[in-house]
């Protein structure tokens, strides 16, 4: 009697293990990326200058300050660093400066990305620049100097 007869009908089945592995890895990737993007970028309309002489994001470590806009008014809700939001005003800015100083103390080469809405009034942007400069001045590290990256949107048609 043949071996095929003994084993019965052939059952065709795909080995799904690698596919499930890859799919889970993709899910983990998207979960992590979506959380990072949500923390770093508050929804706003960034400035879009003409023929910008900008650079792409570097590999350096960075903190992101989002100046959370109040829609269409030029006013703001506050300054967001990481997951914390600081209200506009002296107390909020002092707390923001302390938090930035702690980050710069831990990593003197840290650069700070500043994201502000295109309609936000300059009177709310400049205190954030001041906070970074003051935080750098409080840190005793030799390399500690305020570095700010002003984030803008690059027009797709602009020359590189």
């Amino acid at each position: 009697m043949s071996a095929v007869y003994k084993r019965g009908n052939a059952v065709l089945s795909a080995n799904l293990t690698p596919m499930i592995d890859v799919t889970f890895l993709l899910i983990v990737f998207f979960v992590l990326v979506s959380q990072i993007v949500e923390v770093e970028s508050v929804e706003m309309e960034l400035p879009q200058p003409t023929d910008p002489l900008t650079e792409k994001f570097g590999d350096e470590q960075r903190a992101v300050i989002n100046i959370v806009p109040r829609r269409e008014t030029g006013q703001i809700e506050g300054y967001r660093l990481g997951t914390r939001t600081y209200p506009p005003g002296p107390e909020g800015l002092e707390a923001l400066t302390q938090q930035l100083a702690a980050l710069l103390e831990a990593n003197p080469a840290l650069s700070v990305n500043l994201r502000a809405d295109r309609n936000t009034h300059y009177e709310f942007v400049e205190p954030a620049l001041q906070a970074v400069a003051n935080a750098a001045a409080r840190v005793t590290g030799a390399e500690a100097r305020g570095k700010v990256n002003l984030v803008v949107i690059r027009d797709e048609g602009a020359p590189p």
Binding site: R7, F30, E123, A133, R145
Partner: protein, 192 residues
């Protein structure tokens, strides 16, 4: 009724045992015994399997959701700006250092007029109408091998002076004009 395979296997095993007892043939090797065990397992007995179909469905739904919902920061780029060192400001300055008078560019947003902004340069210079004119002014006044009659070195301090209500977009446009003209020492001043 006994299945034919089972009968054949058991018969072979009994033959093997009798053969080894009688000493008429070689003893069965471990590999041969393993082959027989595997064959027996394949031909009979229940096989326990996990049904993965539902899990794969859910996993794919999650994957599609995150792919659609994730929004990357497409097109975002940066201007790098070094802030003034506050510690140097507290130190005593050399009295024999010559100050370079910074080039101060004021920018204000307004809701009337032909343009939503107004530019002015401190000093006896032609006043630019728009950001392109500001860029041309800065480029032509720079000292380099391409221009004649330049006034300012590339590291000459340029101060962008917005008002309190200047929109960030217009402040950035003024900054961009100086950056495009290859000035390297451009900073923002406190609002007027």
């Amino acid at each position: 009724m006994t299945p034919p395979g089972r009968t054949r296997d058991s018969g072979a095993e009994s033959g093997s045992v009798s053969g080894s007892l009688s000493g008429g043939g070689a003893p069965e090797s471990a590999a041969t015994a393993r082959v027989r065990r595997d064959r027996r397992r394949r031909t009979g007995g229940p096989v326990m399997q996990l049904n993965l179909t539902a899990m794969i469905d859910v996993v794919f739904l999650l994957l599609v959701y995150f792919m659609v919902a994730t929004e990357f920061k497409v097109g975002e780029e940066v201007y790098r700006m070094d802030l003034p060192d506050r510690r140097q400001a507290r130190q005593e300055r050399d009295p024999f250092d010559l100050d370079e008078e910074p080039l101060r560019i004021s920018v204000a947003s307004n809701s009337f007029g032909p343009r939503p902004y107004r530019l002015s340069i401190d000093g006896p210079y032609p006043q630019p109408e728009d950001f392109d004119a500001l860029y041309e002014f800065l480029r032509q006044r720079q000292i380099n091998e391409l221009t004649s009659g330049g006034l300012f070195a590339a590291d000459h301090p340029v101060i962008i002076q917005p008002t309190r209500t200047t929109s960030w977009e217009h402040a950035i446009e003024a900054f961009n004009a100086a950056a495009r003209a290859r000035y390297t020492n451009v900073i923002f001043a406190q609002p007027q």
